[in-house]
Symmetry: C2
Subunit: 322 residues, 2 copies
């Protein structure tokens, strides 16, 4: 398998596809109507699939492009709006409240653009901001954690599973709580250097091998490992080499995309390929460059001034740090 093929291949294990079926039992979080303190959003009552309206996909950076790609493979005629919040990346080491605020701003922006549903393709934001965020959003909101948990529950035979992710995701306990509630034994490990290895183009390097052995070498006996960060599929080969063939890897990108497709159940369409629009809060050329480590971007790229998202940072009024 060459480097390009590796980048585009996120369905790792023959056993995984057999377990993906039936994921439509997973409901998205749904709005329960507005509540005091919630942002004022246009009320959207129809949650059924509307081929004319885009689906919003959101990540702190380029990692969520793995989820967008998996969605595109399943919904090729669907329009997508992808928001990469690269001006504020990475979310993984930021305080929970800050991530909640960022996620709330971004979802509000996407709803304002008329999306029919939102996929939070960011484990940190899913861990920190769901389900509270979904409760005040008048459209279905999916995260990447529930699908990963569901897939792991279906795949494990021993009942002992692992999950790796950013510091923020692991510290939130979001995966661990859900897996333990399903009766599984869980080993969790933060791997803060993995995202950087991917974005540096070092997925296949001695550095990646050293870091993977450091993070995964002391794992207990598990038979399933959730890659709880959208960047990690790019490290699939080194992770599989270190964990050995007896551990099945679960890519949240693939299982989330499958779940969204089945939940929306669109009629088979034969129209034109869907349009992709990327809103980028950081520099657009830098975004395109970094995305090459993930598999590249296609579609329209639109710079988005982060100050139009951030409610707390008026552009006109500098403030003094205390």
């Amino acid at each position: 398998m060459n480097a390009d093929e590796r980048r585009y291949d996120y369905c790792f294990h023959p056993r995984l596809s057999a377990f993906i079926g039936g994921l439509n039992s997973l409901e998205p979080y749904r709005s329960r109507g507005s509540r005091p303190g919630a942002p004022i959003l246009e009320e959207v009552t129809q949650h059924e699939y509307d081929p004319g309206r885009p689906i919003g996909v959101f990540d702190s950076g380029v990692g969520g492009l793995t989820v967008l790609k998996a969605l595109r493979q399943r919904l090729p005629h669907q329009d997508f709006l992808y928001l990469g919040d690269t001006a504020r990346v990475p979310y993984g080491r930021k305080p929970r409240e800050m991530v909640q605020e960022f996620a709330s701003e971004v979802v509000e922006f996407l709803i304002g653009k008329g999306v029919q549903a939102v996929v939070i393709a960011c484990n940190t934001a899913s861990a920190c901001a769901l389900p509270e965020l979904a409760e005040r959003t008048p459209a279905p909101v999916w995260g990447v954690i529930e699908p990963g948990v569901e897939a792991a529950c279906r795949m494990t035979r021993s009942g002992s599973v692992g999950v790796i992710g950013t510091k923020g995701t692991i510290a939130s306990g979001a995966y661990q709580k859900r897996l333990e509630a399903r009766g599984l034994k869980v080993w969790a490990q933060a791997c803060p250097m993995f995202v950087h290895l991917v974005e540096e183009g070092l997925a296949d390097s001695p550095e990646a091998e050293l870091m993977a052995r450091y993070y995964l070498g002391h794992r207990p006996q598990i038979d399933t490992l959730i890659l709880g960060c959208t960047h990690y599929p790019v490290l699939h080969e080194v992770i599989q080499r270190v964990t050995g063939g007896s551990v099945s890897l679960v890519s949240s990108a693939e299982v989330t995309a499958e779940m969204v497709k089945q939940a929306l159940m669109p009629a088979a369409a034969n129209g034109a390929p869907g349009r992709i629009t990327h809103y980028v809060t950081g520099d657009v050329l830098a975004y395109k460059h970094t995305a090459e480590a993930i598999g590249g971007v296609e579609g329209e790229l639109i710079p988005l001034d982060v100050t139009t998202l951030a409610r707390e940072q008026p552009e006109e009024t500098p403030y003094r740090i205390v």
Copy 2:
């Protein structure tokens, strides 16, 4: 030494301070007047020290705060404008032409703000954009490479020195060419994961130890090592532990600040402490958070829309990626 002390201590080796003296022989690059194709800038003819005008300091992110801090220690009454181009960070793995363009935009912005001199506190930008950039800038422009080279030349006894930096800095050969031109034997090593270790708050961690041993373990016999990236001083302890006591570390932050001070030769002032203003192209809160790994920020923080810098990315006109 506790963690806070370590962050603020960038003058590593007792021998270094003895060699910093006399660095005023290092001239900044000076404008040779405008030339065809150069941006139209207000002509500034006076290069002597003017206590009423700020000095501009520029880095792709928070790393240059080590240089700002070293400058502040030497010029406590001086005003500084620091520009952290965090919307486009990191520069280290971007193409040379892209870095040249970014640096040019930023210097033009700072000149427009009335700075009397610019310190490019970014090794990648210094390597890629000097001296061409300085030639069309009507104010002194210093980089961090010449001072580091000068200090290493004065420190080495064996004539064999090393330099570590980002991929971009090392690939540019900027340090190697200058050191070899001075008759030294040079070993150069890119350490792309070092910046990430610092920004993840992992300067004192098993990951840092592993990476330092990987990058530095195979070095030849050298007696001096230039830390050719403004983040690396934060890794001083682990680098010194791995290289052993016989290798002297040169911090470009310290030697650059000393050189700027001596070149400007300001009269001893007893006025109020200088004011610091930070312009940040990425998210301001994220900048402040990341800067905590470097030692924190003080002064005023002003968000700066990166599209006002970037000439090639009109905000109104989305474009299609080909």
